[in-house]
């Protein structure tokens, strides 16, 4: 049975003018690490707030651990852990006080579920008498995760946990999530970073309140319709402008220090030659494996057409 079940969920703001969540459906299996991937403003936080019973949906249905988010909201609150995108623990309480406060209001103790948080808590334990407001960003995030876990939730909701966190801490954080998953906790995580998508078991790509695709990251990549190439030259700005005017190039976008393109006839050599004739120097190109971001852009383009 799925732990989180969402059906045609709709949420609008400002009297229906702003559609934040536009009829979304998905299901998360028990013990799954599921990612909601999408840019800022895609509606990820609204979905999380509805599933954690902080926000009422306009229409649609959703259940968390089999409980309805509208009617059984009180029951749900004992079973879920929620870590909002913004650090929201008591800054004037110490690390330990925050943790024991959240343990007690869930009618449990730190000792009872210590095994769940042990690996994470051990890293912030040296600072347990420091006030939460004085912790560094990465430590705040670990504390928040501990507080969300201390009552042994069945489902863990993590809203953009890695936003604003350095690369090393991000990597660590995903390791922690894997360990939690091994304990059987269902985890729903949202992130705007496409490179984190492959760390999830399944992902839903979201854009403007609608789901573009739901699948495993591998399958989403497999479904990329065309062959993808990356090209570069000595003048990248001129290159992208030239590529856009060429009829055989079906899509082009800048991707770090390369441009990613798809071709109508997949004749890369012909294209490279043409570019050299146009006066580009050091022209280089090769076929590449698409990433989730490439898929996202392709799907977004289709959806807009």
């Amino acid at each position: 049975m799925s732990d989180v079940h969402v059906e045609n969920l709709v949420k609008t703001y400002d009297g229906g003018q702003v559609k934040a969540v536009n009829g979304i459906s998905f299901a998360v299996e028990k013990g799954e690490l599921f990612g909601l991937i999408g840019p800022d403003g895609a509606g990820k936080t609204s979905i999380f707030r509805m599933l954690t019973t902080l926000l009422l949906p306009d229409s649609g249905k959703a259940t968390v651990t089999g409980l309805d988010i509208v009617h059984d909201y009180k029951e749900i609150r004992s079973h879920v852990g929620y870590m909002p995108g913004k650090f929201s623990l008591y800054q004037d309480l110490t690390v330990e006080e925050n943790l024991s406060f959240f343990a007690t209001i869930f009618n449990t103790t730190i000792e009872e579920n210590y095994h769940l948080i042990k690996d994470i808590y051990i890293q912030i334990k040296p600072f347990k008498n420091r006030r939460a407001g004085k912790l560094s960003g990465g430590m705040k995030q670990k504390l928040a995760l501990c507080c969300a876990l201390i009552h042994k939730p069945s489902v863990l909701f993590l809203d953009e946990p890695t936003t604003g966190v350095d690369a090393v801490s991000r990597k660590e954080f995903w390791e922690m999530l894997k360990a939690l998953k091994a304990q059987g906790i269902t985890i729903l995580v949202s992130t705007p970073y496409m490179d984190e998508a492959t760390l999830c078991e399944r992902i839903a790509l979201i854009q403007s309140g609608s789901i573009l695709s739901i699948d495993t990251p591998q399958n989403i990549i497999k479904q990329f319709p065309d062959k993808l190439y990356s090209v570069r030259s000595d003048n990248m700005i001129r290159l992208i402008n030239d590529l856009r005017t060429m009829p055989e190039v079906t899509s082009v976008y800048s991707f770090g220090d390369h441009h990613h393109i798809t071709l109508r006839d997949n004749n890369l050599d012909g294209l490279l030659q043409e570019l050299t004739e146009k006066g580009h120097a050091a022209v280089d190109g090769k076929p590449i494996e698409p990433t989730v971001e490439d898929c996202f852009i392709a799907l977004m383009k289709n959806a807009n057409n």
């Binding site: 009422l56 623990l89 004037d92 007690t104 869930f106 507080c147 009552h151």
Partner: protein
């Protein structure tokens, strides 16, 4: 109950860790209670008077001497012409100008009456009216004495047919502080309770901790009680400090009536005002909004409570506002119990009114609090 205990524990920890709040609780009320009543004094002293004496007679000298001897007036200038003194008026150096005409004494003796000219600077209305009244009184006394002396007239026809003698009840010496200190204490309690309660809850909204609490099984009434109880206790503490330390030790005010009755009323009053703070917090998302909203209402509460101006002399519409103002009732109860020694029967209606405020504010706040967090 267990949950509530931990919520309270958390709340007190936060309060005692915040030096600003502690200072606000302890120092502010005491300092204000010592400063405000001393400054907010209705008694008009130091009315500056400029005198233009054209007569220079014994009588005019005597009159001036009597004015100077009065503790209400300080003579700032002896001018030779009205125009000269008028300049002092314009520079706000004088509040009154008394012009004594030439031949003041002679006319007075011969014809039995004489006029003097009094100009009043009415920019400060109260000072002007009270000042000119004081002066007329001095002149009347002077007049009566003069007639006795100069005309050697026996008091067959007394100068005034009926003389009223007034006795001031409850505050025989018309000690202004006796009246102001209890009122200001009420006002301080109001301010601290409303502001601190509203700001504290809105702070949780601002930081986002309220959401974190909302996803826990903590019940709404637990959360609300967890906020109200600490500030209720703080309100009680401030009142005690104000009543026993400042009012008694500094001003020597000992309530004539029952202290227990005061505390009973305070208990309900605090519930009402904390409910009001809660209400403000449900309509604000930032501390700035809460502060502005609370400031707006507390200002109206203060000015329309009868603390400074008598409610009876307000226009009818304003009296209705004063009646809808919880501060009015507590100030009245305070003054009645402290000065007059009123018992429960005398303030029964006040009790009912305050219970009404407590129910309306808290009920409204709880209802709108639920709606917002859905």
């Amino acid at each position: 109950m267990r949950t509530l205990r931990f919520l309270l524990q958390k709340e007190f920890r936060q309060i005692f860790r915040n030096p600003t709040i502690l200072r606000m609780i302890m120092v502010l009320p005491i300092v204000q209670l010592i400063i405000l009543p001393l400054a907010a004094d209705y008694e008009i002293k130091n009315v500056n008077i400029a005198i233009v004496d054209h007569d220079h007679s014994t009588s005019s000298q005597k009159l001036i001497g009597e004015i100077g001897a009065s503790r209400y007036f300080s003579i700032t200038d002896y001018g030779s012409s009205f125009a000269q003194s008028y300049e002092l008026f314009q520079r706000d150096k004088a509040d009154l100008i008394l012009e004594i005409p030439q031949n003041f004494e002679r006319t007075l003796v011969r014809e039995g009456h004489e006029n003097y000219f009094l100009a009043v600077n009415a920019i400060n209305g109260t000072k002007a009216i009270v000042g000119s009244n004081y002066l007329s009184r001095i002149v009347n006394d002077f007049n009566a004495n003069l007639r006795l002396q100069l005309l050697k007239q026996p008091l067959s026809t007394p100068p005034q047919a009926i003389e009223a003698a007034a006795i001031n009840w409850y505050n025989p010496l018309l000690n202004y502080r006796l009246f102001m200190v209890p009122g200001i204490l009420v006002f301080l309690i109001t301010m601290v309770a409303t502001y601190m309660c509203a700001l504290n809850i809105v702070k949780e909204k601002e930081i986002g901790t309220i959401e974190q609490i909302n996803v826990t099984p903590v019940k709404k009434y637990h959360f609300i009680l967890g906020k109200l109880i600490p500030f209720w206790l703080i309100g009680m503490l401030i009142f005690t400090l104000g009543l026993f330390i400042v009012a008694r030790l500094v001003y020597g005010i000992v309530p004539v009536g029952s202290v227990l009755l005061l505390y009973a009323y305070l208990a309900i009053y605090l519930v009402a005002m904390l409910g009001f703070g809660l209400l403000i917090s449900t309509y604000s998302n930032t501390q700035q909004q809460a502060m502005s909203l609370a400031f707006f209402f507390v200002m109206i509460f203060l000015l329309m409570s009868g603390l400074f101006t008598s409610i009876d002399s307000m226009p009818t519409w304003a009296r209705w506002i004063a009646l809808a103002n919880p501060v009015t009732y507590f100030i009245e109860v305070m003054r009645m119990v402290v000065l007059k020694g009123s018992g429960f029967a005398d303030v029964k209606l006040h009790f009912f009114a305050m219970l009404g405020f407590a129910i309306v504010f808290n009920g409204w706040a709880v209802m709108s609090y639920k709606k917002v967090s859905g």
